[in-house]
């Protein structure tokens, strides 16, 4: 027993070093799996405050880009207004529904909530954004996040007033997408090299694709409503060995200056997830 104590005293520094290494590595691998680390709630609140202070300055320099993005979004939404469309024949008349039930409220599946981006990074391999809206303002993990121009990422953790969003520019991020023209489904990932481009995979070669085609979110992605722009085709890489395209996409969102985002709350997400999980359990 005495020798054990002597050993510990002799190599105390080395053992202490090993303990700290194990603690930090367990933090790292646990976070990579579940996106929950020790004290991340408190730490998120504190780093969020600092990020907010910095963003107060940075925001002025990005005003022009932010304004352009918002104007573009308004233009797109104006195009969708009912008044812009005219029925081709005399027979089709617009009529007001006389039913007295407000059916619109009940079936709204996606709820949008605006949030200010207070911290973001593009330079690392694992990029995150911090937004100024948290669990006290109805933000939960697993909510989709979009910018005025296209999709941004997914909420991974929240504190009372801030939330951390895993950006599309993260090595572990994937999103299910489809071609706007043909409807073939594939998935989008990031290879970690250039923050302006992401990689589209799993599109069969039978699909017709041209440079400049839009890639939008698919119906099967439960986080985003269908039809939200992800990116445009920039380069189609020839791969003779497989039956699938590998495509380089230009991201719709400019991750360098994104300032405002919308967090999308899918009100039926939990129900869908529960059903899918229970089915998976039954099969196994």
């Amino acid at each position: 027993m005495r020798n054990v104590f002597l050993f510990i005293r002799r190599y105390f520094n080395f053992l202490f070093f090993l303990v700290l290494q194990i603690v930090s590595l367990s933090f790292l691998f646990q976070y990579n799996k579940f996106h929950q680390a020790a004290f991340s709630n408190v730490a998120g609140e504190i780093t969020g405050r600092f990020n907010e202070k910095y963003n107060g300055v940075e925001y002025y320099f990005r005003l022009k880009g932010t304004n352009d993005a918002l104007v573009k979004e308004n233009e797109r939404l104006n195009q969708l207004l009912k008044e812009n469309y005219e029925a081709p024949g005399q027979l089709n008349k617009l009529m007001t529904d006389t039913l007295m039930i407000d059916s619109l409220k009940k079936i709204q599946k996606y709820i949008y909530r605006e949030a200010k981006v207070v911290g973001s990074s593009v330079s690392s391999q694992t990029n995150y954004l911090t937004i100024h809206r948290g669990s006290s303002q109805q933000i939960r993990p697993n909510m989709g996040v979009i910018s005025p121009l296209g999709i941004v990422g997914t909420v991974v953790s929240t504190s009372p007033n801030f939330a951390v969003v895993m950006s599309m520019l993260h090595r572990q991020y994937t999103v299910v997408v489809k071609l706007k023209n043909g409807g073939e489904r594939g998935k989008v990932e990031w290879d970690g090299t250039n923050p302006s481009f992401v990689t589209l995979k799993d599109i069969p070669k039978s699909a017709k694709m041209n440079k400049g085609d839009s890639i939008v979110t698919s119906e099967t992605s439960s986080l985003f409503p269908p039809g939200i722009l992800v990116g445009t085709v920039n380069e189609i890489v020839e791969d003779k060995s497989s039956n699938f395209y590998v495509v380089k996409l230009k991201t719709a969102t400019n991750f360098f200056n994104v300032q405002y985002v919308y967090v999308i709350d899918n009100t039926q997400f939990d129900e869908q997830k529960r059903l899918e999980d229970s089915t998976r359990k039954k099969i196994q």
Partner: protein, 177 residues
Amino acid sequence: MSELLKNIFRFALFIFVQVFVLFKVSPLHHFIVPYLYFLFILWLPFNLPRFWLTFIGFIYGLTLDYFTNTPGLHAAACTLIAYVRPFIINLMISQEGTDKNYASPSITSMGFAPYATYALVLTLLHHSFLVFLEWMSFGTFFFFIGKVIGTTAISLLLILLTELLFFRKEQFRTNTV
């Protein structure tokens, strides 16, 4: 200013410079990430006990980690260089008693060549470990080597610039005081 106050000030300053200046630089190339924050550990005083040195390294790395949302990544690398630091210093000190006569490692206290070697070895160690932890989940061996070399080169350049811009005058302390 006392040594303790000076180091607390440096702690905050290095973290903020790293998070709000260097990480905000738009990426030049995917091999290059400008890192400077670990210079804090290189500048810690000689007479700090090894236990505290390792512990400060851990806390310092973890602080940066909470800003970048990678808990444990920088903490592991910082703990490693903080632990290895005394070994390198023992090898590099040319004259007997440098660590008693001067407060902390610098060009004046150690001489240019030993200090440069000291910085090079710890920088290389820090980046190798950091990129290794990143590389475990993705990338190729070529990516690993390229990134370590690219990042180390940029870091050494930044360290040199910092040493020239903020020249630290080290007082020679005799043991008669």
